[in-house]
Protein backbone atom coordinates (compact mmCIF):
# COMPACT_ATOMS: atom_id res chain seq x y z
CA UNK A 1 0.00 0.00 0.00
CA UNK A 2 0.97 3.59 -0.59
CA UNK A 3 1.07 6.12 2.25
CA UNK A 4 0.90 9.89 1.75
CA UNK A 5 2.15 12.09 4.57
CA UNK A 6 1.58 15.84 4.72
CA UNK A 7 4.10 17.98 6.58
CA UNK A 8 4.14 21.66 7.51
CA UNK A 9 7.00 24.07 8.06
CA UNK A 10 6.43 25.93 11.34
CA UNK A 11 8.33 27.93 13.93
CA UNK A 12 10.40 25.57 16.07
CA UNK A 13 8.49 24.55 19.20
CA UNK A 14 11.17 25.98 21.49
CA UNK A 15 10.75 29.50 20.13
CA UNK A 16 8.58 31.84 22.16
CA UNK A 17 6.73 33.73 19.44
CA UNK A 18 5.88 37.40 20.00
CA UNK A 19 3.63 39.95 18.37
CA UNK A 20 5.32 42.62 16.24
CA UNK A 21 5.44 46.04 17.86
CA UNK A 22 2.79 47.40 15.48
CA UNK A 23 0.50 44.46 16.20
CA UNK A 24 0.10 43.62 12.52
CA UNK A 25 1.39 40.06 12.74
CA UNK A 26 3.77 37.82 14.65
CA UNK A 27 7.52 38.43 14.44
CA UNK A 28 8.95 35.67 12.27
CA UNK A 29 12.19 37.25 11.09
CA UNK A 30 15.29 35.21 11.93
CA UNK A 31 13.25 32.65 13.82
CA UNK A 32 14.26 29.01 13.71
CA UNK A 33 11.90 26.95 11.57
CA UNK A 34 11.28 23.21 11.74
CA UNK A 35 8.94 20.44 10.71
CA UNK A 36 5.75 20.61 12.82
CA UNK A 37 6.19 18.06 15.68
CA UNK A 38 2.90 16.30 14.93
CA UNK A 39 3.90 16.01 11.25
CA UNK A 40 7.18 14.44 12.33
CA UNK A 41 5.19 11.79 14.18
CA UNK A 42 3.15 11.27 10.98
CA UNK A 43 6.35 10.71 8.95
CA UNK A 44 7.67 8.29 11.58
CA UNK A 45 4.43 6.27 11.53
CA UNK A 46 4.54 5.99 7.74
CA UNK A 47 8.20 4.96 7.75
CA UNK A 48 7.46 2.31 10.38
CA UNK A 49 4.66 0.94 8.18
CA UNK A 50 7.18 0.66 5.38
CA UNK A 51 9.78 -1.00 7.58
CA UNK A 52 7.14 -3.49 8.74
CA UNK A 53 6.45 -4.37 5.10
CA UNK A 54 2.91 -2.99 5.29
CA UNK A 55 3.57 0.06 3.13
CA UNK A 56 5.39 -0.13 -0.17
CA UNK A 57 5.93 3.58 -0.70
CA UNK A 58 5.88 6.71 1.45
CA UNK A 59 5.22 9.98 -0.36
CA UNK A 60 5.59 13.23 1.55
CA UNK A 61 3.83 16.43 0.52
CA UNK A 62 4.17 19.97 1.80
CA UNK A 63 2.35 23.13 0.88
CA UNK A 64 4.03 26.50 1.13
CA UNK A 65 6.75 28.66 -0.37
CA UNK A 66 10.12 27.32 -1.59
CA UNK A 67 11.55 27.10 1.91
CA UNK A 68 9.27 24.21 2.87
CA UNK A 69 11.36 21.98 0.61
CA UNK A 70 13.71 21.93 3.59
CA UNK A 71 11.05 20.12 5.64
CA UNK A 72 10.33 17.74 2.77
CA UNK A 73 14.06 16.89 2.70
CA UNK A 74 13.90 16.29 6.46
CA UNK A 75 11.03 13.84 5.93
CA UNK A 76 12.98 12.15 3.13
CA UNK A 77 15.97 11.83 5.49
CA UNK A 78 13.67 10.17 8.02
CA UNK A 79 12.79 7.53 5.43
CA UNK A 80 10.10 8.83 3.05
CA UNK A 81 10.70 7.85 -0.60
CA UNK A 82 9.82 10.95 -2.58
CA UNK A 83 8.45 14.42 -2.12
CA UNK A 84 5.78 16.66 -3.61
CA UNK A 85 5.98 20.38 -3.05
CA UNK A 86 2.89 22.42 -3.85
CA UNK A 87 4.25 25.92 -4.18
CA UNK A 88 2.02 28.57 -2.62
CA UNK A 89 3.03 32.00 -1.38
CA UNK A 90 1.78 33.36 1.92
CA UNK A 91 -0.15 31.30 4.44
CA UNK A 92 -2.91 29.26 2.85
CA UNK A 93 -5.83 28.51 5.18
CA UNK A 94 -6.59 24.94 6.30
CA UNK A 95 -9.52 24.58 3.86
CA UNK A 96 -7.26 25.59 0.94
CA UNK A 97 -4.52 23.23 2.12
CA UNK A 98 -7.11 20.45 2.32
CA UNK A 99 -8.23 21.22 -1.25
CA UNK A 100 -4.65 21.08 -2.50
CA UNK A 101 -4.07 17.82 -0.65
CA UNK A 102 -7.26 16.46 -2.19
CA UNK A 103 -5.62 17.16 -5.55
CA UNK A 104 -2.49 15.31 -4.46
CA UNK A 105 -4.64 12.41 -3.24
CA UNK A 106 -6.42 12.29 -6.61
CA UNK A 107 -3.08 12.14 -8.43
CA UNK A 108 -1.38 9.65 -6.10
CA UNK A 109 -4.28 7.44 -4.93
CA UNK A 110 -2.74 6.60 -1.55
CA UNK A 111 -4.36 3.96 0.67
CA UNK A 112 -3.64 5.96 3.79
CA UNK A 113 -3.01 9.67 4.39
CA UNK A 114 -1.30 10.60 7.65
CA UNK A 115 -1.17 14.17 8.94
CA UNK A 116 -0.38 15.84 12.24
CA UNK A 117 -3.48 16.65 14.30
CA UNK A 118 -2.58 20.31 14.45
CA UNK A 119 0.24 22.65 13.61
CA UNK A 120 1.77 24.46 16.53
CA UNK A 121 1.63 27.86 14.80
CA UNK A 122 -2.06 28.30 13.92
CA UNK A 123 -3.30 25.66 16.39
CA UNK A 124 -6.26 25.13 14.07
CA UNK A 125 -6.64 21.33 14.14
CA UNK A 126 -8.63 21.22 10.89
CA UNK A 127 -6.73 20.06 7.81
CA UNK A 128 -6.99 16.28 8.21
CA UNK A 129 -10.71 16.38 8.97
CA UNK A 130 -11.31 18.71 6.02
CA UNK A 131 -9.32 16.52 3.66
CA UNK A 132 -11.32 13.46 4.78
CA UNK A 133 -14.59 15.35 4.23
CA UNK A 134 -13.60 16.62 0.78
CA UNK A 135 -12.53 13.16 -0.36
CA UNK A 136 -15.50 11.46 1.33
CA UNK A 137 -13.38 9.05 3.34
CA UNK A 138 -13.10 8.13 7.01
CA UNK A 139 -10.95 9.92 9.58
CA UNK A 140 -9.07 8.63 12.60
CA UNK A 141 -8.11 11.83 14.37
CA UNK A 142 -5.79 12.23 17.42
CA UNK A 143 -4.40 8.72 16.88
CA UNK A 144 -2.38 6.95 19.55
CA UNK A 145 -2.38 3.58 17.77
CA UNK A 146 -2.80 2.57 14.13
CA UNK A 147 -3.32 -1.02 12.96
CA UNK A 148 -3.69 -1.82 9.29
CA UNK A 149 -5.99 -4.73 8.49
CA UNK A 150 -7.47 -6.13 5.33
CA UNK A 151 -8.90 -3.15 3.44
CA UNK A 152 -9.38 -1.29 6.70
CA UNK A 153 -7.48 0.43 9.47
CA UNK A 154 -8.22 0.42 13.18
CA UNK A 155 -7.31 3.68 14.86
CA UNK A 156 -7.23 4.24 18.61
CA UNK A 157 -8.00 7.88 19.32
CA UNK A 158 -7.24 10.10 22.30
CA UNK A 159 -10.61 11.56 23.32
CA UNK A 160 -11.76 13.60 26.32
CA UNK A 161 -12.72 10.65 28.50
CA UNK A 162 -9.90 8.28 27.50
CA UNK A 163 -9.47 6.24 24.32
CA UNK A 164 -11.82 5.32 21.50
CA UNK A 165 -11.12 2.78 18.75
CA UNK A 166 -12.74 3.08 15.33
CA UNK A 167 -12.38 1.08 12.15
CA UNK A 168 -12.16 2.92 8.84
CA UNK A 169 -12.37 1.59 5.33
CA UNK A 170 -9.26 2.30 3.27
CA UNK A 171 -8.41 4.77 1.93
CA UNK A 172 -8.61 6.78 5.13
CA UNK A 173 -7.11 9.80 6.85
CA UNK A 174 -5.25 9.50 10.15
CA UNK A 175 -4.11 12.47 12.24
CA UNK A 176 -1.44 11.89 14.84
CA UNK A 177 -1.44 12.64 18.53
CA UNK A 178 1.67 12.89 20.68
CA UNK A 179 1.85 9.32 21.87
CA UNK A 180 1.55 7.51 18.55
CA UNK A 181 5.31 7.06 18.38
CA UNK A 182 8.62 8.68 19.17
CA UNK A 183 10.21 10.00 15.97
CA UNK A 184 13.78 9.00 15.18
CA UNK A 185 16.61 11.36 14.39
CA UNK A 186 17.85 11.47 10.81
CA UNK A 187 21.35 10.02 10.45
CA UNK A 188 23.98 11.90 8.46
CA UNK A 189 24.15 9.26 5.68
CA UNK A 190 20.35 9.41 5.39
CA UNK A 191 20.44 13.21 5.21
CA UNK A 192 22.95 12.90 2.33
CA UNK A 193 20.81 10.25 0.62
CA UNK A 194 17.70 12.41 0.99
CA UNK A 195 19.26 15.07 -1.21
CA UNK A 196 19.10 12.66 -4.15
CA UNK A 197 15.52 11.51 -3.60
CA UNK A 198 12.98 12.81 -6.14
CA UNK A 199 11.11 16.01 -5.27
CA UNK A 200 8.45 17.26 -7.65
CA UNK A 201 7.06 20.80 -7.55
CA UNK A 202 3.44 21.51 -8.46
CA UNK A 203 1.35 24.67 -8.60
CA UNK A 204 -2.20 24.97 -7.28
CA UNK A 205 -3.29 25.26 -10.94
CA UNK A 206 -1.74 21.83 -11.64
CA UNK A 207 -4.13 20.48 -9.01
CA UNK A 208 -7.09 22.49 -10.29
CA UNK A 209 -7.33 24.63 -7.16
CA UNK A 210 -7.75 28.37 -7.00
CA UNK A 211 -6.55 29.61 -3.61
CA UNK A 212 -9.09 31.74 -1.75
CA UNK A 213 -9.08 33.54 1.55
CA UNK A 214 -11.99 33.23 3.95
CA UNK A 215 -10.45 34.73 7.06
CA UNK A 216 -8.41 37.93 7.33
CA UNK A 217 -5.93 38.60 10.11
CA UNK A 218 -6.93 41.93 11.64
CA UNK A 219 -4.06 42.01 14.10
CA UNK A 220 -2.28 40.26 16.93
CA UNK A 221 -1.63 41.18 20.52
CA UNK A 222 0.18 39.64 23.44
CA UNK A 223 -2.04 37.73 25.87
CA UNK A 224 -2.88 39.27 29.22
CA UNK A 225 0.30 38.84 31.20
CA UNK A 226 0.27 37.07 34.52
CA UNK A 227 2.73 38.45 36.94
CA UNK A 228 4.53 36.26 39.38
CA UNK A 229 3.00 36.32 42.83
CA UNK A 230 4.75 35.60 46.07
CA UNK A 231 6.74 32.71 47.45
CA UNK A 232 5.32 31.23 50.60
CA UNK A 233 7.59 29.73 53.25
CA UNK A 234 5.50 26.79 54.35
CA UNK A 235 2.46 24.66 53.63
CA UNK A 236 0.79 26.30 56.60
CA UNK A 237 1.27 29.77 55.11
CA UNK A 238 0.05 28.51 51.73
CA UNK A 239 -3.19 27.18 53.19
CA UNK A 240 -3.66 30.43 55.12
CA UNK A 241 -3.22 32.52 51.95
CA UNK A 242 -5.63 30.34 49.95
CA UNK A 243 -8.24 30.54 52.70
CA UNK A 244 -7.96 34.15 53.80
CA UNK A 245 -6.37 36.10 50.93
CA UNK A 246 -7.38 34.33 47.71
CA UNK A 247 -10.50 32.82 49.34
CA UNK A 248 -10.53 29.88 46.94
CA UNK A 249 -10.73 27.08 49.51
Amino acid sequence: MKVLVAVKRVVDYNVKVRAKADGSDVELNNVKMAINPFCEIAVEEAVRLKEAGTASEVVVASIGDKSCQEQIRTALALGADRGIHVEVEGRPEPLEVAKLLKGVVAAESPDLVILGKQSIDGDNNQTGQMLAALTGIGQGTFASDVNIGDGAVQVTREVDGGLQTVELKLPAVVTTDLRLNEPRYASLPNIMKAKKKPLETLSPADLGVEIQSHVALVGVQPPAERSAGIKVESVEQLVDKLKNEAKVI
Binding site: A133, D160, G161, T165, A216, K241
Partner: protein
Amino acid sequence: MKTLIVAEHDNQTLKPATLNAVAAAQQLGGDVDVLVVGSGCEGAANAAAAVTGVGSVLCADNAAYGHQLAENVSLAVADAASSYDCVMAAATANGKNVMPRVAALLDVAQISDITAVIDADTFERPIYAGNVIATVKSSDSKKVITVRTTAFDAVPAEGGSASVQAVDGAHDAGVSSFIGEEVAVSDRPELTSASVVISGGRGMQNGDNFSLLEGIADKLNAAIGASRAAVDAGFVPNDYQVGQTGKIVAPDLYIAVGISGAIQHLAGMKDSKVIVAINKDEDAPIFQVADYGLVADLFSALPELETAL
Protein backbone atom coordinates in the same frame (compact mmCIF):
# COMPACT_ATOMS: atom_id res chain seq x y z
CA MET B 1 -28.59 36.17 12.91
CA LYS B 2 -29.37 32.53 13.67
CA THR B 3 -26.85 30.31 15.40
CA LEU B 4 -27.00 26.54 15.74
CA ILE B 5 -25.07 25.00 18.61
CA VAL B 6 -23.96 21.39 18.13
CA ALA B 7 -24.50 19.85 21.57
CA GLU B 8 -21.82 17.95 23.45
CA HIS B 9 -23.60 15.07 25.17
CA ASP B 10 -23.58 11.37 25.99
CA ASN B 11 -27.14 10.74 24.73
CA GLN B 12 -28.61 10.78 28.26
CA THR B 13 -27.17 14.04 29.54
CA LEU B 14 -25.91 17.34 28.17
CA LYS B 15 -22.21 18.07 28.83
CA PRO B 16 -21.49 21.42 30.54
CA ALA B 17 -19.30 22.51 27.57
CA THR B 18 -22.53 23.07 25.62
CA LEU B 19 -23.51 25.80 28.10
CA ASN B 20 -20.30 27.72 27.36
CA ALA B 21 -20.94 27.45 23.63
CA VAL B 22 -24.46 28.84 24.10
CA ALA B 23 -22.92 31.75 26.02
CA ALA B 24 -20.59 32.50 23.10
CA ALA B 25 -23.51 32.32 20.66
CA GLN B 26 -25.51 34.79 22.72
CA GLN B 27 -22.70 37.32 22.28
CA LEU B 28 -23.26 37.10 18.52
CA GLY B 29 -26.86 38.13 19.11
CA GLY B 30 -29.98 36.70 17.49
CA ASP B 31 -31.56 33.28 17.89
CA VAL B 32 -29.71 30.37 19.43
CA ASP B 33 -30.91 26.83 18.70
CA VAL B 34 -29.29 23.57 19.74
CA LEU B 35 -28.80 20.47 17.60
CA VAL B 36 -28.47 17.13 19.39
CA VAL B 37 -27.12 14.39 17.13
CA GLY B 38 -27.06 10.99 18.78
CA SER B 39 -28.74 7.67 19.30
CA GLY B 40 -31.44 7.37 21.96
CA CYS B 41 -30.60 10.98 22.78
CA GLU B 42 -33.98 12.14 24.03
CA GLY B 43 -32.53 12.75 27.50
CA ALA B 44 -29.84 15.06 26.14
CA ALA B 45 -32.37 16.85 23.90
CA ASN B 46 -34.70 17.48 26.86
CA ALA B 47 -31.77 18.78 28.89
CA ALA B 48 -30.87 21.13 26.02
CA ALA B 49 -34.46 22.39 25.92
CA ALA B 50 -34.15 23.45 29.56
CA VAL B 51 -31.05 25.60 28.97
CA THR B 52 -31.60 29.33 29.43
CA GLY B 53 -31.68 31.22 26.15
CA VAL B 54 -32.24 28.30 23.79
CA GLY B 55 -34.96 28.95 21.20
CA SER B 56 -35.53 25.45 19.95
CA VAL B 57 -33.83 22.07 20.01
CA LEU B 58 -33.37 19.92 16.93
CA CYS B 59 -32.91 16.24 17.65
CA ALA B 60 -31.36 13.92 15.08
CA ASP B 61 -31.79 10.53 16.69
CA ASN B 62 -30.42 7.56 14.78
CA ALA B 63 -28.26 4.50 15.44
CA ALA B 64 -25.71 5.83 12.93
CA TYR B 65 -24.92 8.69 15.34
CA GLY B 66 -24.52 6.54 18.43
CA HIS B 67 -20.80 6.88 18.91
CA GLN B 68 -20.46 10.35 17.41
CA LEU B 69 -18.62 9.06 14.33
CA ALA B 70 -17.54 12.25 12.56
CA GLU B 71 -18.28 10.87 9.09
CA ASN B 72 -21.98 10.48 9.95
CA VAL B 73 -22.52 13.29 12.45
CA SER B 74 -20.95 15.90 10.14
CA LEU B 75 -23.52 15.07 7.43
CA ALA B 76 -26.38 15.61 9.89
CA VAL B 77 -24.88 18.91 11.07
CA ALA B 78 -24.18 20.18 7.56
CA ASP B 79 -27.77 19.35 6.63
CA ALA B 80 -29.23 21.22 9.59
CA ALA B 81 -26.84 24.16 8.98
CA SER B 82 -28.69 25.20 5.83
CA SER B 83 -31.07 27.50 7.70
CA TYR B 84 -28.46 29.06 10.02
CA ASP B 85 -25.87 31.83 9.70
CA CYS B 86 -23.48 30.22 12.15
CA VAL B 87 -22.79 26.72 13.43
CA MET B 88 -20.93 26.51 16.72
CA ALA B 89 -19.62 23.82 19.04
CA ALA B 90 -17.40 23.62 22.07
CA ALA B 91 -13.77 22.88 21.20
CA THR B 92 -13.83 19.48 22.90
CA ALA B 93 -12.24 16.37 21.38
CA ASN B 94 -15.59 15.71 19.75
CA GLY B 95 -16.09 19.27 18.50
CA LYS B 96 -12.56 19.31 17.09
CA ASN B 97 -13.21 16.01 15.33
CA VAL B 98 -16.57 16.86 13.76
CA MET B 99 -16.66 20.61 13.04
CA PRO B 100 -13.82 20.93 10.48
CA ARG B 101 -15.57 18.19 8.54
CA VAL B 102 -18.77 20.23 8.66
CA ALA B 103 -16.91 23.35 7.48
CA ALA B 104 -15.39 21.49 4.53
CA LEU B 105 -18.80 20.08 3.55
CA LEU B 106 -20.16 23.65 3.58
CA ASP B 107 -17.05 24.95 1.75
CA VAL B 108 -16.30 27.53 4.43
CA ALA B 109 -13.45 28.13 6.85
CA GLN B 110 -13.59 27.06 10.46
CA ILE B 111 -12.59 29.53 13.14
CA SER B 112 -11.11 27.33 15.86
CA ASP B 113 -11.11 27.89 19.57
CA ILE B 114 -12.44 31.44 19.81
CA THR B 115 -11.88 33.24 23.11
CA ALA B 116 -13.84 36.43 22.38
CA VAL B 117 -16.57 37.68 20.07
CA ILE B 118 -15.82 41.19 18.77
CA ASP B 119 -18.71 41.40 16.30
CA ALA B 120 -20.67 39.02 14.09
CA ASP B 121 -17.66 38.51 11.79
CA THR B 122 -14.70 39.19 14.07
CA PHE B 123 -13.26 36.97 16.75
CA GLU B 124 -10.23 36.54 18.96
CA ARG B 125 -8.39 33.26 19.16
CA PRO B 126 -5.07 32.18 20.65
CA ILE B 127 -2.31 31.05 18.30
CA TYR B 128 1.25 29.81 18.92
CA ALA B 129 0.30 28.01 22.15
CA GLY B 130 -1.43 31.14 23.41
CA ASN B 131 1.70 33.29 23.15
CA VAL B 132 -0.23 35.56 20.81
CA ILE B 133 -3.92 36.40 20.53
CA ALA B 134 -5.04 36.88 16.93
CA THR B 135 -8.04 38.95 15.89
CA VAL B 136 -9.54 37.41 12.75
CA LYS B 137 -12.37 38.53 10.50
CA SER B 138 -14.38 36.00 8.54
CA SER B 139 -15.75 36.78 5.08
CA ASP B 140 -17.83 33.60 4.89
CA SER B 141 -21.57 34.19 4.89
CA LYS B 142 -22.04 31.00 6.90
CA LYS B 143 -19.65 30.53 9.79
CA VAL B 144 -18.35 27.42 11.48
CA ILE B 145 -16.82 28.11 14.87
CA THR B 146 -15.45 26.15 17.81
CA VAL B 147 -15.44 27.80 21.21
CA ARG B 148 -12.83 27.68 23.94
CA THR B 149 -15.14 26.86 26.83
CA THR B 150 -12.98 28.49 29.52
CA ALA B 151 -13.35 31.89 27.84
CA PHE B 152 -17.15 32.06 28.15
CA ASP B 153 -19.10 31.74 31.40
CA ALA B 154 -21.71 29.00 31.13
CA VAL B 155 -25.36 29.97 30.81
CA PRO B 156 -27.71 28.39 33.41
CA ALA B 157 -28.65 24.79 32.58
CA GLU B 158 -32.19 25.45 33.79
CA GLY B 159 -34.79 28.11 33.17
CA GLY B 160 -35.49 27.57 29.47
CA SER B 161 -38.46 25.87 27.88
CA ALA B 162 -37.55 25.28 24.25
CA SER B 163 -39.47 22.91 22.02
CA VAL B 164 -37.80 19.73 20.79
CA GLN B 165 -38.23 18.92 17.10
CA ALA B 166 -37.15 15.65 15.57
CA VAL B 167 -34.94 15.97 12.50
CA ASP B 168 -35.68 13.46 9.78
CA GLY B 169 -33.19 11.70 7.62
CA ALA B 170 -30.38 9.43 8.71
CA HIS B 171 -26.89 9.70 7.36
CA ASP B 172 -24.57 6.74 7.41
CA ALA B 173 -21.50 7.46 5.31
CA GLY B 174 -20.64 3.78 5.58
CA VAL B 175 -16.90 4.33 5.90
CA SER B 176 -16.38 4.05 9.64
CA SER B 177 -17.51 1.95 12.57
CA PHE B 178 -17.09 2.02 16.32
CA ILE B 179 -14.97 -0.78 17.79
CA GLY B 180 -14.60 0.08 21.46
CA GLU B 181 -13.56 2.54 24.07
CA GLU B 182 -11.65 2.74 27.31
CA VAL B 183 -13.23 5.45 29.35
CA ALA B 184 -11.97 6.19 32.81
CA VAL B 185 -14.76 6.14 35.38
CA SER B 186 -14.22 8.60 38.17
CA ASP B 187 -16.26 10.18 40.93
CA ARG B 188 -14.22 13.34 40.62
CA PRO B 189 -15.41 16.39 38.70
CA GLU B 190 -14.49 16.63 35.03
CA LEU B 191 -11.11 18.20 34.42
CA THR B 192 -12.42 20.91 32.10
CA SER B 193 -15.25 22.04 34.37
CA ALA B 194 -13.82 21.49 37.87
CA SER B 195 -13.43 24.56 40.07
CA VAL B 196 -10.22 23.15 41.53
CA VAL B 197 -7.56 21.21 39.60
CA ILE B 198 -4.43 19.62 41.01
CA SER B 199 -1.90 18.47 38.43
CA GLY B 200 1.28 16.45 38.67
CA GLY B 201 4.32 16.58 36.44
CA ARG B 202 7.54 14.71 35.88
CA GLY B 203 8.49 15.50 39.47
CA MET B 204 5.93 12.94 40.64
CA GLN B 205 8.47 10.31 39.50
CA ASN B 206 5.92 7.55 38.89
CA GLY B 207 2.23 6.81 38.54
CA ASP B 208 1.87 5.41 42.07
CA ASN B 209 2.89 8.74 43.54
CA PHE B 210 -0.18 10.36 41.97
CA SER B 211 -2.01 8.84 44.96
CA LEU B 212 -0.42 11.70 46.93
CA LEU B 213 -2.62 14.06 44.92
CA GLU B 214 -5.77 12.03 45.47
CA GLY B 215 -6.24 12.76 49.16
CA ILE B 216 -5.91 16.48 48.48
CA ALA B 217 -8.23 16.23 45.48
CA ASP B 218 -10.82 14.49 47.68
CA LYS B 219 -10.69 17.27 50.26
CA LEU B 220 -10.96 20.06 47.68
CA ASN B 221 -13.38 18.24 45.35
CA ALA B 222 -10.73 18.73 42.69
CA ALA B 223 -10.05 17.09 39.35
CA ILE B 224 -6.60 15.58 38.79
CA GLY B 225 -4.55 16.63 35.78
CA ALA B 226 -1.02 16.16 34.51
CA SER B 227 1.65 17.70 32.35
CA ARG B 228 2.58 16.19 29.01
CA ALA B 229 5.82 14.90 30.55
CA ALA B 230 3.88 12.87 33.13
CA VAL B 231 1.55 11.45 30.47
CA ASP B 232 4.38 10.64 28.05
CA ALA B 233 6.22 8.87 30.88
CA GLY B 234 3.13 6.70 31.38
CA PHE B 235 2.38 7.90 34.93
CA VAL B 236 -1.25 8.64 34.04
CA PRO B 237 -3.56 8.21 31.01
CA ASN B 238 -3.74 10.72 28.16
CA ASP B 239 -7.04 12.22 29.24
CA TYR B 240 -5.25 13.82 32.22
CA GLN B 241 -3.12 16.05 29.98
CA VAL B 242 -3.44 19.80 30.43
CA GLY B 243 -1.78 21.97 27.79
CA GLN B 244 -1.67 23.33 24.25
CA THR B 245 -2.58 20.01 22.73
CA GLY B 246 -4.40 18.51 25.71
CA LYS B 247 -7.18 20.01 27.75
CA ILE B 248 -7.58 23.72 28.41
CA VAL B 249 -8.63 24.46 31.97
CA ALA B 250 -9.35 27.66 33.89
CA PRO B 251 -10.46 26.66 37.39
CA ASP B 252 -10.68 28.98 40.41
CA LEU B 253 -7.64 27.20 41.82
CA TYR B 254 -4.93 25.32 39.91
CA ILE B 255 -2.26 23.55 41.89
CA ALA B 256 0.80 22.52 39.83
CA VAL B 257 2.92 19.94 41.58
CA GLY B 258 6.34 18.95 40.26
CA ILE B 259 5.61 20.73 36.97
CA SER B 260 8.39 22.89 35.54
CA GLY B 261 6.05 25.03 33.43
CA ALA B 262 6.86 24.57 29.73
CA ILE B 263 5.00 27.09 27.54
CA GLN B 264 2.92 24.24 26.14
CA HIS B 265 1.66 23.43 29.65
CA LEU B 266 1.09 27.08 30.56
CA ALA B 267 -1.07 27.39 27.42
CA GLY B 268 -3.53 25.01 29.04
CA MET B 269 -3.86 26.56 32.50
CA LYS B 270 -2.65 30.14 32.68
CA ASP B 271 -6.17 31.56 32.66
CA SER B 272 -6.87 29.90 36.02
CA LYS B 273 -7.92 32.42 38.67
CA VAL B 274 -5.37 31.41 41.29
CA ILE B 275 -2.30 29.34 40.52
CA VAL B 276 -0.25 27.52 43.14
CA ALA B 277 3.09 25.93 42.25
CA ILE B 278 4.92 23.41 44.37
CA ASN B 279 8.35 22.60 43.03
CA LYS B 280 11.74 22.00 44.56
CA ASP B 281 13.51 23.92 41.78
CA GLU B 282 13.12 27.58 42.70
CA ASP B 283 14.04 28.63 39.14
CA ALA B 284 11.24 26.59 37.53
CA PRO B 285 9.32 28.81 35.05
CA ILE B 286 6.02 27.77 36.65
CA PHE B 287 6.81 30.22 39.49
CA GLN B 288 6.62 33.10 36.99
CA VAL B 289 2.88 32.57 36.59
CA ALA B 290 2.07 31.31 40.09
CA ASP B 291 0.25 33.51 42.58
CA TYR B 292 1.63 31.40 45.39
CA GLY B 293 4.84 29.47 45.00
CA LEU B 294 6.17 26.95 47.47
CA VAL B 295 9.75 25.81 46.97
CA ALA B 296 9.67 22.42 48.61
CA ASP B 297 10.06 18.71 48.08
CA LEU B 298 6.62 17.56 47.00
CA PHE B 299 6.97 14.28 48.87
CA SER B 300 6.96 16.12 52.18
CA ALA B 301 4.77 19.06 51.13
CA LEU B 302 1.85 17.01 49.77
CA PRO B 303 1.16 14.95 52.93
CA GLU B 304 1.49 18.15 54.96
CA LEU B 305 -0.97 19.92 52.68
CA GLU B 306 -3.46 17.09 52.90
CA THR B 307 -3.34 17.24 56.68
CA ALA B 308 -3.63 21.03 56.75
CA LEU B 309 -6.78 21.15 54.63
